[in-house]
């Protein structure tokens, strides 16, 4: 999905080099969870 308002984890990570060395395995699912939660919320407003 090509949008300013949605990032895949890879895109997010590329923009956040400060996360190197941090516990990515714990961070990734959490960050993506809220990205997807926002997607569901937004889409539910127009469904």
């Amino acid at each position: 999905m090509d949008s300013k308002y949605y990032e895949t984890w890879e895109e997010y990570l590329a923009e956040h080099p400060e996360l190197e060395g941090k516990p990515i395995k714990a961070i990734e699912p959490k960050v993506q969870k809220y990205e997807d939660a926002m997607f569901t919320f937004i889409m539910d407003l127009v469904l």
Binding site: M1, D2, S3, K4, Y5, Y6, A37, M38, F39, T40, F41, I42, M43, D44, L45, V46, L47
Partner: protein, 384 residues
């Protein structure tokens, strides 16, 4: 309660069998009445109970106790709090306390190109601010409205979830998940172009409609994807606009992306349930083409023809007329249930659901007795 746990397991097995084309031990039955009905049944104020959810647990308890059902009742629910916070225009509560969808325009015809270039960008930047007044203003205020609304909806859903967990533990319902999405054409119509708008677009800009449907297809698929595709559950797709189109417009504008969406979801291992609203009888051969074991709940149509043409490949549901429950005698209602069982159950692939949801409880009418009788009847006599 181990009884409830055993019942949940049994019901989950019934639905797993049904969804994979096997024949369960009996016809599963689902109560078509909604949370709105349940609130009225409990004698409470409809609007108030949709705001103060603490009133709902006893509502659901009585509802579950008095009406037999294999699946958790209540239907699709839109609660007012986040809509109010956002200044919603497409979903509003009427004077009667029911949440409804007036025909409003979210996207103008001249905005098709913007949408096609990036649907999600267009939704966020153009469509939502038009439809939701609190999302149209100073950035700080918009950000706060969004945050409050998301929190309100999240809290509401979580609270309803706790009630559901309690009811499941007490009554042993099947534990199924659902994800909601729409056919791309319906998505373009419902909140974006409106019924009136898309009807004009079909004549004036059919190429833009087609391109918009293709552009939004990945979003519709993502929206309809369950957290774990193989889990017990389904993607729920209410079908809206097709009966209002000419055949040739259906073929070129509605069908291609709708078919692709269902095929993609089924290809992931997900079950798809279509709510085939209005009259699709002229499109029945198209429905046949969809992936095997697509659940099709019909509002209108000829049950015999549907069973004959679709019943060996797909899972048939619906047809039972809720208006009969509201106006008929108990015998007439039970006879109708028997009539449909006789047509649709033989050979399997049948799930008892009504033709639509029951949202209104007519206080002086027979609906309560009739509904109870029919649900019991199908439970006790629903053999394949």
């Amino acid at each position: 309660m181990t009884d409830a746990v055993a019942m949940t397991n049994e019901r989950n097995q019934m639905f797993s069998d049904l969804f994979s084309g096997k024949t369960p031990k009996r016809v599963p039955v689902s109560n078509p009445a909604t949370q709105d009905f349940a609130i009225q049944y409990a004698g409470l104020d409809l609007a108030e109970c949709q705001w103060d959810l603490t009133k709902l647990e006893p509502v659901y308890d009585k509802f579950c106790q008095d009406f037999f059902t294999d699946t958790y009742p209540g239907g699709s629910i839109r609660l007012p709090s986040h809509y109010q916070i956002l200044g919603s225009t497409p979903i509003v509560m009427s004077s009667s306390g029911f949440m409804q969808h007036p025909d409003v325009v979210g996207m103008l015809a001249e905005e098709y190109d913007e949408f096609i270039a990036s649907p999600y960008d267009c939704i966020v930047e153009t469509i939502l601010p038009r439809l939701f007044t609190e999302l149209n203003g100073a950035p700080g205020k918009v950000a706060m409205a969004l945050a409050k609304a998301m929190r309100a909806q999240s809290d509401d859903l979580a609270y309803l979830g706790t009630i559901r967990a309690k009811m499941n533990a007490k009554y042993g319902f099947a534990t199924m998940s659902a994800a909601l999405t729409e056919a791309p054409f319906d998505f373009m119509a419902d909140f974006l172009r409106s019924f009136k708008g898309i009807s004009g677009d079909v004549r004036r800009h059919p190429d833009k409609i087609a391109a918009a449907c293709e552009a939004v297809l990945p979003l519709m698929i993502k929206k309809g994807t369950l957290p774990n595709p193989s889990m017990l559950g389904y993607t729920f797709i209410p079908l809206h606009m097709a009966p209002y189109l000419r055949d040739k417009d259906f073929l070129t504008l509605y069908w291609p992306t709708f078919k692709k969406m269902v095929e993609t979801l089924a290809g992931m291992g997900q079950t798809v349930q279509l709510f085939v609203e209005q009259d699709w009888m002229r499109y029945i051969d198209y429905l046949y083409e969809l992936p095997e074991n697509t659940i099709m709940r019909f509002e209108y149509g000829d049950a015999k023809v549907v069973k004959e043409k679709l019943g060996k490949k797909h899972i048939i549901s619906g047809f039972y007329p809720v208006t009969l429950l509201q106006t008929g005698t108990k015998q007439q209602c039970v006879d109708k249930a028997k009539e449909l069982l006789d047509i649709l159950a033989p050979g399997g692939r049948y799930w008892w659901q009504a033709d639509k949801s029951i949202i209104n409880l007519e206080a002086n009418g027979p609906v309560v007795e009739n509904l109870r009788a029919v649900l019991e009847y199908v439970h006790e006599n629903g053999a394949y």
